[in-house]
């Protein structure tokens, strides 16, 4: 049995090494990775923050955020919508399942609880920092939201899910928070359009910086901090929506199966 597993793993490794060798050293698929930048990458790098070319620029020092929420902003909006509907489906599956507080579970040992208390504030600060600095350093709304969602996850495991509820982080509040985040994304996507219509000019949905036919845009920085127009708002709102979405899922998943079954059978 052990010999068989050893042979399987060895064959797998030899296959991967040979494939990697043919692709990279023998260049069977062309030059990979390419030595120079592709024209598309050059375009993004050359235009993501160029005040002298502001009709083409996203005015964001972080090119990846500029691509995600400006150049291909509508794709990201639809991705957010997919995530939104997935969470709605989960909430619908778990509808009506609420557990009353029992006396049994009091969380993990004191050592784990103390360590969690020390580490969780750091987690929250890092997540907030990733969201706020999303326009100038790597990271953004989704990264920050998923990093932040680790905090309630640890709280659920270490202190039990009732702890979250007692601290005010209930499922309904999280649904409201997520709604607020998504409304924020919706508002930000039509902000320039609304400003353009109010000023009597042309503008586009999901517009960030001024364009040649649509001169209305949002300010690239506020008090010296580069917010890159709508990108900062998108990052913060996505952060809230993703954090709340993941936390709802974990609150629902942490309900024991017997409680869920009982509630489902009681329905009929």
């Amino acid at each position: 049995m052990l010999l068989r597993r050893l042979i399987t793993v060895s064959v797998l490794i030899v296959f991967i090494v040979l494939t990697s060798y043919t692709i990279t050293a023998l260049n069977v698929l062309g030059e990979l990775p390419p030595r120079g930048l592709r024209p598309l990458a050059l375009w993004f790098l050359n235009t993501s923050i160029t005040p002298w070319l502001n009709y083409f620029s996203a005015m964001a020092p972080e090119t990846v955020t500029a691509i995600v929420w400006d150049y291909r902003g509508l794709d990201t909006l639809f991705e957010t919508a997919v995530f939104y509907f997935a969470i709605i489906a989960s909430i619908a599956l778990f509808r009506g399942i609420e557990e009353k507080r029992g006396g049994g579970y009091v969380g993990l040992s004191k050592i784990v609880r103390v360590v969690s208390r020390v580490l969780l504030p750091i987690n929250i600060v890092v997540a907030a920092s990733i969201a706020i600095h999303g326009t100038i350093t790597p990271g953004g709304g989704f990264q920050a939201g998923s990093a932040m969602a680790v905090a309630p996850l640890i709280l659920i495991i270490v202190f039990s899910r009732f702890f979250l509820k007692e601290k005010g982080l209930s499922k309904n509040l999280l649904i409201a928070l997520r709604g607020a985040g998504l409304v924020g994304i919706g508002v930000a996507s039509i902000l320039a359009l609304a400003l353009g219509l109010l000023s009597g000019g042309y503008s586009f949905i999901f517009q960030n910086q001024p364009k040649e036919a649509a001169p209305t845009g949002l300010p690239p920085d506020v008090l010296g901090f580069p917010i890159a127009g709508t990108l900062f708002i998108f990052n913060i709102c996505e952060f809230i929506a993703v954090f709340a979405g993941f936390t709802i899922i974990f609150i629902l998943l942490s309900i024991p199966e017997d409680v869920a079954r009982e509630a489902l059978h009681g329905e009929h």
Binding site: S146, A147, I249, E257
Partner: protein, 84 residues
Amino acid sequence: MLEAFFTLFLMMLLSLISTIAVYLAVTERNLLRAVLFSALQSMCYAFLYYILMAPDIVLVYVPVSIGLYPAAILFLIRKTKECE
């Protein structure tokens, strides 16, 4: 030169460890251990992304694949059976 060689060696090592971890995760009958192997594979990938200079991917990959995904799977295992 030495630095480039070390980076390449590290990438190869991490790739091989991740391959073995994937194999073990697929063949392991105890689902809890399978999740741990999967998390090991994710950890290797996180380092690989960092070496390949994709910090945006690292920042989302670390919490999702090492924190949220194993936790979700563990919650689901608790709702079913520990072994296949």
